[in-house]
């Protein structure tokens, strides 16, 4: 009986006595000694491990940039591969600290999931891929086509909207993972495969004959891709947001991996503030003042990360387009560090 009573006390203690304090993500990460980042895992150019388990990609570099800012070591980050289906749950449950997995920022996700979208790291839009042999040159010719799409994504909803608004009929075939949907497309189950156009370029590389497939010119939706954090931890949100902004600012100021050490001696006030030579901006975020220097030293600026992973320096060869700096006709704009 005594033993039972103890067990009972233990059970209630477990059940009741553990009201978690609002999480301080930065402190948790520092204490753990590494950042845990939710990533795609199967999307070439954005987030994918090689057979040795080394992760590379545009979204992956963003997490490495955060790790570099906190630990001065871009390797102190653990990647968790997530499907589109379980990505929000993983973040909500605290399994990961930040989600950097080509995720679209929408109002309903922002308000009903308990999540925050700090910054748009990539302006994307949904597109269509078809076989060249189909001789289709516009998405408007796809009336009656069957389209393979991944379940539970905004792509699935946009697809229905687009066909309806253009008075075209459609056969949707949905799959739990993008991988399955792409495989089904390749085997001829569907005429077209749709997802964010960045994804289309990446996944085309995973087909056996990439040159036999084309991405149609139509972009049918606005897909601002953003990292995601839990709502309510403003400091952590700020860190994630400004990690992106300083990478943009660095590009604008001409600071890159190669010249960042030389730029420490620059007398340009903006550069000095960015690199932490002047001011206490890093400490205001709960980091060290040279945090932006660390990011650029280890990862490089936004343009470098873009070109290396998905741009001209990669097999994907995506052009900057909307993601060029605002000074070059794009939309990427970093607020000033001051």
């Amino acid at each position: 009986m005594k033993r039972l009573a103890t067990a009972f006390a233990l059970a209630t203690a477990l059940a009741l006595g553990t009201q978690a304090a609002p999480a301080d993500t930065l402190a948790t990460v520092k204490q753990r000694g590494e950042l845990i980042c939710g990533a795609n895992g199967t999307l070439a150019g954005f987030g994918m491990p090689d057979p040795q388990g080394n992760w590379t990609g545009f979204d992956v570099d963003f997490c490495r940039a955060i790790a570099a800012a906190i630990f001065n070591d871009p390797q102190k980050v653990k990647f968790v591969p997530l499907t589109a289906k379980d990505r929000f749950t993983a973040l909500q449950s605290g399994e990961i600290d930040v989600l950097s997995r080509n995720t679209t920022w929408t109002l309903s996700r922002d308000t009903s999931l308990g999540l925050d979208f700090p910054a748009i790291t990539y302006f994307d839009g949904q597109g269509f891929m078809v076989r060249k042999a189909l001789k289709v040159s516009s998405a408007l010719e796809l009336n009656d086509a069957s389209v393979c799409v991944q379940q539970g994504t905004t792509s699935e909803l946009n697809l229905a909207d687009y066909f309806r608004s253009n008075h075209m009929s459609l056969k949707t075939v949905t799959f739990a993972t993008g991988e399955e949907a792409l495989k089904a497309y390749e085997s001829g189950r569907c005429d077209s495969y749709t997802t964010d156009s960045s994804g289309l370029y990446g996944e085309r590389q995973e087909l056996s004959e990439p040159s036999q497939h084309i991405v149609l010119p139509e972009i049918i939706s606005k897909e601002p891709l953003s990292p995601v954090v839990r709502q309510g931890d403003n400091q952590w949100t700020d860190i994630v947001r400004w990690t992106h902004f300083v990478m943009i600012d660095a590009e604008e100021l001409g600071i890159n991996k190669g010249n960042v050490d030389a730029k420490l001696k620059s007398d340009d006030p903006e550069t000095r503030r960015l690199l932490g030579v002047e001011g206490q901006y890093g400490e205001a975020l709960g980091l060290t003042n040279d945090w932006a220097y660390r990011i650029i030293k280890h990862i490089g600026n936004y343009g470098e990360s873009f070109e290396r992973n998905i741009g001209q320096g990669s097999p994907l060869k995506i052009v900057r387009g909307l993601n060029a700096l605002w000074t070059k006709g794009g939309l990427q704009y970093g607020p000033p560090v001051r």
Binding site: M1, L4, A5, A7, F8, A11, T12, L14, A15, L16, T18, Q19, A20, P22, A84, K85, F88, T89, Q92, S93, T111, S112, L113, G114, L115, L142, N143, D144, A145, S146, Q151, G152, T153, E156, L157, L159, A160, D161, R164, L170, K171, T172, V173, T174, F175, A176, E180, A181, K183, A184, S187, G188, R189, D191, R230, Q231, G232
Partner: protein, 372 residues
């Protein structure tokens, strides 16, 4: 004392879980309740048995579409698995060495490979190797087969088709009447009147006559090759075919074992007595062995049916829009309300199981051997 402690522990754990869930949910600002039920769904579903459109139908409607798809594939699976299972189970007991071995090999092979692997095999290795749209096979009768599915002619009924249905009902009633009469005759006189042909004539002949009299009130709309797809006709999705096939092939092996055990449970004396009475072996099986074996077979058979229904949730892997794929997949993802969606999904399966158990218990009570 011990009981009170257990009540308190379970209560405490439940309270803790609910408390934590509420805390975690509110901290995460996740909405709760079934408010989403009437919101517009906005996504398409590839197979809908009831009217559904992405732009106007609600999440609630999507739930019913998913549930009906689950019931459809489970129903088809149960019929096919039962037929195949009984044939294989009886074949395993065959006196023919080859037939028995073949059936045994089938059972061993199928039971020892995971259903999910079999499902992937049927879907990815068999159905994907069907011809592409351009090389579609034209089947006799206007049907078309390719890796997008099987497209059958769709029957279009004219208004007076109801007479044919009426004739069919009358025909079936007639056949049942014939059967009752034959049994009465057999029990009274021992003569076994042959009613097979008259019964068939009643079931098929009457509707045919009515069909001709009503002026052939039925035509078929044939599927047509379109620019991208086959249009019109009744579409059997490859996802549906793969799932129904995998479920029935897998479950048939288990049903075969149930049938074998049931037949073996009937004492050999029964067979010998039947043969002594001069029944042929088919008659022995049909009139003596199977009716007794059924009493043993039905309870495990039902649990195999329930397994099949539960296993149909594997649809989520190949993209067949069943309850789990549509509701616990897409709807959960869009709304993010895991607790409500999962709880409702589980409740549906639980309700099916409980309903079946109740029916089973009634059956068991009805067929219990009358003790003398």
């Amino acid at each position: 004392m011990l009981q009170i402690a257990i009540v308190v522990i379970i209560g405490g754990l439940a309270y803790g879980a609910v408390y934590n869930a509420a805390l975690n949910l509110s901290r995460a600002h996740i909405a709760s309740g079934f408010g989403f039920w009437n919101n517009t769904a906005g996504f398409d579903i590839s197979q809908t048995l009831i009217a559904y459109s992405a732009s106007t139908s609600s999440f609630g409607r999507a739930f019913w579409v998913g549930l009906l798809n689950t019931l459809l594939v489970a129903g088809v699976g149960i019929v096919l698995a039962t037929i195949a299972g009984f044939v294989i189970g009886i074949a395993r007991l065959s006196h023919n060495w080859l037939v028995a071995r073949l059936a045994g090999g089938y059972v061993e092979l199928v039971r020892n490979v995971p259903l999910l692997l079999q499902l992937l095999f049927w879907y990815n290795a068999v159905l994907k190797s069907l011809p592409l749209l351009r090389g579609s096979m034209a089947l006799p009768g206007g049907a078309i087969l390719n890796n997008r599915g099987l497209f059958l002619p769709q029957p279009v009924f004219a208004a007076n088709f109801s007479t044919v249905v009426l004739a069919l009902v009358v025909g079936i009633a007639g056949a049942i009447g014939l059967n009752v009469w034959a049994r009465w005759r057999r029990e009274r006189t021992g003569a076994d009147p042959h009613i097979l042909w008259p019964a068939l004539a009643s079931i098929f002949g009457l509707p045919l006559i009515a069909f001709a009299v009503a002026g052939f009130p039925l035509h078929f709309s044939l599927p047509q090759m379109g620019r991208f797809n086959v249009n019109g006709g009744v579409e059997v999705l490859p996802e549906f075919a793969a799932l129904a096939l995998a479920l029935s092939v897998y479950t048939a092996a288990f049903i075969a074992e149930v049938v074998r055990a049931g037949v073996l449970a009937v004492s050999h004396g029964q067979t010998e007595a039947a043969q002594a009475l001069g029944l042929r072996s088919g008659q022995t099986l049909r009139l003596v062995v199977l009716p007794q074996a059924m009493r043993v077979i039905v309870p495990p058979l039902t649990s195999q049916y329930l397994n099949l229904i539960k296993n149909s949730s594997l649809a989520v892997v190949i993209g067949y829009p069943d309850l789990v794929q549509v509701f616990a997949g897409t709807v959960l993802n869009i709304t993010g309300q895991a607790v409500e969606v999962i709880a409702l999904t589980m409740a549906v399966y639980l309700a099916i199981s409980l309903f079946t158990s109740v029916v089973m218990n009634l059956y068991a009570r009805a067929t219990v051997i009358a003790e003398r």
